[in-house]
Symmetry: D2
Subunit: 488 residues, 4 copies
């Protein structure tokens, strides 16, 4: 991990420092899409005196529209520092363990970093304030138990909107190792969201709290090898009521996280009633991964990566018996929960992909400023400049779309934001793939190897054109909205 | 203009009405990127009771971030209605005149519509509040002349920021005929901006006021046939001081608007001092188009369109004598003014391109819902759905980028927003070309003809990959920013 | 037409001549895809002595596979010279007339050049030898009339295969003015092909011979404004038998060539029997354009081009009475003829598009070697080099595909070559559009104007993504073939 | 490997068989780009009697231009059968071993299949007849030793041209496992080519013969981690003469094949003279991999794949002493040899990529005909049909370009074919990536996993945009040729 070019970089610094130093000051207070500090009038360069407020034209104060609040900006700064101090330096160690014969174990530093993140207030930031509120209501209702409530509250994030989380999640996405350090990794966030929104008091206490604490991890067992699972009505796994239990039989795969030794909970989707209407046949049930009858068959690979120790498991369920009250919401509500889960939970992927692409940009530029071919730096080749600019344009456009989708989710809710969320889901992985591919190309052979994070980030991004509903399904959602819009 | 398919459309309405009526209600309160009314909590579908404000987690109110203010929304609604009531129905008439032997005259309804727009308060909306403030200061300073001031003020727009104007300019961009009706057309807005920002009291009174009133029009004579004018240092036109006059000699082309019979003012860029440093050689000077020595050689065409009666002129200047005080800001300041003009003035093009693409979307969907091939509506062909969805994604991403650029222009000023403005300038025409091309394809032969607005919108968009600085120059600007960023 | 930069070019020649002169000789004997002379062993640079033919390994002589025969190469050289001597220098004159008020008349030099082309043996080269043979058989059969036969034979081209013609048609495609000079223009070739393959003796004598002689021109009236004509079963024009006549009623548009004053023949497609099976309802009939009841309503435009004096007409037929024996092949055979016509006739478009793109390449490189921006020639900008290389790759790939399609048409016939022809029809215009667009961009504003041929070539290429069957239909043909292939 | 959907496929067969059986016969004699048998006149469907050869028009026999000879076609049929009988059924076994802890060993069936391929005459088909001739000359010269010569000849392939091999190599490329079975795998072919063209008698006997026999394998140690090796002048490895030996010091990586237990020979590129002109500093030397001082540091990964048991090695050379007569051609000739090797040797990659893409096409269509989503087969979704057609177009265009490049290599030699070879090298991997990516998408999660060959084929193709010279270098070669062409 990292580019083994310290020597060359040093040499470069010597050569190029002078020419850059003079441009440096011009940019030192440069404001990007996300300025370091909230903009003030003094940053405006053309010092036109604003006056005439007594005249009939009302002067609109230029309130920044696309700028995070100070609270979010502070968290963002903290997060960036944490990444630089603790995550990037560890990437190589984590990766080496995951390549070794000890691949399916957890690096001891991971748990240490989790503790640190908790202490820094960078824990469970993903939790939307309204989901938190709902869970609090379910547990405490009218009761007065401030001691317990305080403890529970501490686990419920920072009361952020999805839009606000977007500015932070992006930063975590810059490293494959990062999200779980902040308890913001997939599929745990989606699973926790399910419990926050649909769990009853017992389910929340038993399954959610340890997840919120980061003590356990979880898997989401929905996709099946035999059928096109992008169409959830195809699912064949059977969940049959038998006395006080449900009996589960079926084959699942791509249950990410199930290989993790800390994995405790599986949320299993299957059919409780084959005779019900198409969208009422599915149910979701909470399953302890250690229940007899569950067999983890093998880790699947993504390109050549097995993503140890997280892993993507193929799992067989043979007469797995689960207490009846583990059912979520009730029989036949599986499709409804899936819809709820797929919306916000999976927008996180898009946010992380922005960060992955940003990492790609940074590495590509770094490399181009260090590497020399055919008599000049790659950064001095015209075609590179054109490529890097095109990447930046795609990245900015897509970042704004993802933030917009998050904002619509906050303002309009899951269903009404659906088309925009679908757009983000198509746009984000495709953009990230383009940027990361360009970055790999600039890195030459190192780019496709395990010596940089690029190929791994790329493979992960490629999966998200499928895992989160294939592009084709999202395009269909968008197109249908478009057709209806034109009729009204 | 329009699709000659009234009969078929009626038939379709009969057939499809039922199936659409039931989906209609689902969408009737749908909120798009730009909701009709400011969002309220009641639009949130998942009616989770927000409570617990007494708890330690502070609930952030979901203030919409990317939503225009009520004031802007009202102007937007008014503008949309004006377009539907007065502009779209006139497009065909205007186009017919512009194809006839009377092509270089103005349709009488155009001036009537301008009066109407003025009365409706949809006049000069493009003027940024700070430019307005500067002009007011220059003219009135400490003087107290409220009567004149009030009259002048009425011409200075609605005190909008660039971001706010973005939501409105887009609407005008839906029709090639529209911008000038609202006195928001190119190149007049750029020229007026120059006078607002750099004109002295006399220049403002003589040249700006008639332009603000919509009584005259103007041209910007910068591009030259012999040299790559994207690099302004190449410009060869000579402006020589001679007593109380300047003598201009040179050849210009692509002076848009110069064919318009109302055109009065040319802003001419040329070199006053060949010995000065590279960026101090150019000056800008105000020239009455009727000055002896000016010869309009011919109208140029854009993909066969001469854009009558507006027109793109080739103009020869032979010993054209102009009063010395027509110089703007002073000798050698031409480059500086050009920079100022190119920034905000030309972001308008991007905004209009969003509207042009939106028009393309609307027409493509309409056509697809009316036209039948191989046994089904085009809208029922899978590949069409995929195309329309991809267009929508590109459009939304680009709209957000243009709005972001406008906002950065407001918050950070011309120079600091430079890279983002460059991104918008590359992204907007390329997106519009893609969307309009798809729309043409769906329209078949009608799409490339003069019977729809599509080919003309397309040709205009294509020009903007060149006219507003070629893509390549903008990509260079973006790339350089990227390289510098990585060093700091 | 042409780039008004003689002066600059001369300057460049002075500056750059030296550096190029030394690389010149390295390339002076360079062999391109189409070498000037048939390759011989002496062109092989690594002079390995081929021997050992007595050994058990049989040495295969490297007979060039993708190289035209000497006969074709000679025609090609002649054609290139004709273009350089007579066509390119006239382009500007022809274009000026077509922009003037005399636009719908023929430039006198056009007929002179046609005579010259006839004398040079560059006449009717498009006629496939088997179509020629069929026509000869129909007219002469067993009769012995060598004098007339010889005269007729002289009009029947050079006995080329479609593949061989591909190497020649491409050259003609470099100029919009060229094909008709060689009597190889659309839609005449398609119409002549129809008569060669499906005409009876009388039809051939009356209608075909004057077309072969270049004395008359013709139109193909198939597309209708009201329906999606890409699906020919939609056609609504009525052709009703009435005694010894057929009565035609209907509206057609995009009848290219119908505005030409020399246009004499219209081949009209319509329905003779609405009760017949779907593909047996259509018939084709020969119609004298001067028949009462025919009204040429207006010329349509392509982008802003009306393509005068050729023109694309909208035509109304109102009770147009035509002799019954003008029907082609018989009632209900229209679909069959259309299929026959669409195959080879329209592959010519693809060949011409290769030439149009080649013209674009040549102009883009020329410009890049003459034009200076930001301190260096465009040809020295890295991004330009990358673009020009990508254009060349697309061009070569597409040329090979078009030649392959022509060869399959020769070897396997219309139906079996269908999928490959469809590929060529999608690939060729899309490639040409990309190359010409890049060339326009390199030319700046001149590129989109009427001052170079680029915008006009581009507009023509764009039309061919629709006129020749829309891309979508061809993609469907290809996909179906692919699906069937996999099952066998 | 393969799609675990036997059950579903069987069901599908039942459902769809009838509807396909009737289209089957229509296509049973369908001729593709590469017809099963040489075309004859009877395949021509429009049975126009060719006659009139007595007339003045000479009928050109339709000799197929782009069709392989009967000899090549026979080898092709044999190869296809071998793949179906022996390779595809083994892919899964080979892959499983390569994923196990025994990953760095050779599957016993591999050697058996090699013997079988030899017996079938499918051995060393890659050897160009002229390279074979040169090697024979070097060894036997004027000597008469027919017994040995016969044995040697049997190892020298089938006397094919590069074009002829193109039709065969493509077939091998359909499986990652295949090429080495036929002794046609990289980097062995390139290394053998070096020895055939530049080896002296001793070098050929000692190193080449065991390679030709398939007893040993080899690596090519050129790329270095510290420098941009696409510019070979950057190479830093030192090869110093010391008495009768050369001493090698340096670090190499991406030495593919070096992990193979059968690997015996490394061809090492390094600098013998730092003071020589830039392109005379490099030399190549033959190195026994077991020489002391050579340390295989680790296998590199490509998107997570280590490509065991073949492997891509990082290798350190520390004072490695090699006999002086192991130098190839002589000191300072390394660059020259590299040029010779890179031309033909690496065109094989392009040929194989055509096959890889063809495999992707076949799998994507198969899957689409078996998999059902949202109520219909994927093959019935319109957007899929559009995608598959676009893939086919790209594939055919690129196949033709690769064959053209091979033919130019045969006819014009390495240098003159350079631009076209460069085009093939850019086009082939990019096309294969597009096709394979589409195929993965159609396969859903299975597509990115190890359960199909797609992700592995994709990763390999991606590497070839770098390994074989990065795209950027090839684009530069093409652009330069284009610029020079326009000047002559």
């Amino acid at each position: 991990m990292g580019n083994a070019s310290g020597g060359e970089r040093a040499r470069f610094a010597g050569e190029k420092a002078d020419s850059f130093i003079k441009t440096a000051w011009l940019f030192i207070q440069r404001k990007s899409v996300l300025p370091l500090h909230p903009p003030s009038e003094t940053t405006r360069e053309d010092n036109i005196r604003i006056f005439g407020s007594e005249s009939q034209i009302q002067v609109t104060p230029t309130s920044g529209k696309f700028v995070p609040s100070e609270k979010v900006q502070d968290l963002r700064d903290k997060l960036i520092k944490f990444m630089e101090d603790h995550i990037y330096p560890k990437e190589s160690d984590f990766y080496k363990l995951a390549q070794s014969t000890m691949r399916w174990t957890i690096h001891p530093d991971e748990e240490k970093l989790k503790d640190l993140a908790k202490r820094e207030g960078l824990w469970n930031l993903w939790i939307p304030f309204d989901s938190a509120a709902r869970a609090r209501e379910v547990i405490f209702g009218s009761r007065n138990d401030s001691l317990v409530e305080n403890k529970f509250n501490r686990l419920l994030g920072a009361g952020l909107s999805n839009l606000e989380y977007g500015y932070l999640c992006e930063i975590m996405g810059r490293s494959i190792c990062a999200p779980q350090i902040f308890n913001c990794g997939a599929p745990d966030t989606g699973n926790m969201e399910v419990l926050l929104r649909y769990g009853n008091e017992e389910q929340i206490k038993e399954w959610l709290v340890p997840l919120l604490e980061g003590k356990t991890r979880s898997g989401f067992a929905m996709t099946e090898p035999q059928v096109a699972s992008s169409d959830a009505t195809n699912i064949e796994c059977s969940i049959k009521r038998h006395g006080d239990s449900y009996i589960i039989n079926g084959k699942k795969w791509w249950t990410s996280g199930a290989m993790d030794p800390r994995c405790k909970l599986l949320i299993v989707m299957g059919k409780t009633d084959l005779t019900a209407p198409k969208h009422k046949q599915q149910s979701m049930i909470l399953v302890d991964i250690n229940t007899p009858g569950i067999a983890i068959k093998r880790p699947l690979t993504v390109f050549g990566f097995d993503d140890a120790p997280h892993g993507h498991a193929e799992i067989f369920f043979e007469n797995v018996s689960v207490p009846a009250n583990n059912i979520l919401l009730g029989e036949g509500r599986g499709f409804e929960i899936a819809q709820g889960r797929l919306g916000p939970g999976r927008l996180h992927h898009c946010m992380r992909l922005i960060g992955a692409a940003e990492r790609g940009m940074q590495m590509m530029v770094q490399r181009a400023l260090e590497r020399r071919a055919f008599g000049k730096l790659i950064a001095e080749h015209g075609a590179f400049l054109s490529d890097v600019a095109k990447c930046r344009i795609e990245l900015e456009k897509t970042r704004l779309l993802v933030l917009e989708a998050a904002d619509q989710l906050d303002r309009l809710g899951n269903k009404k934001a659906r088309a925009t969320i679908a757009m983000a889901k198509v746009a984000a992985p495709n953009m990230a793939l383009m940027v990361l591919d360009t970055a790999m190309q600039v890195h030459g052979a190192a780019g496709v190897s395990g010596d940089t994070v690029l190929a791994h980030l790329w493979a992960t991004a490629r999966t998200l054109r499928i895992a989160d509903g294939p592009d084709e399904v999202h395009l269909g959602t968008i197109a249908k909205t478009e057709l209806r819009k034109s009729r009204l």
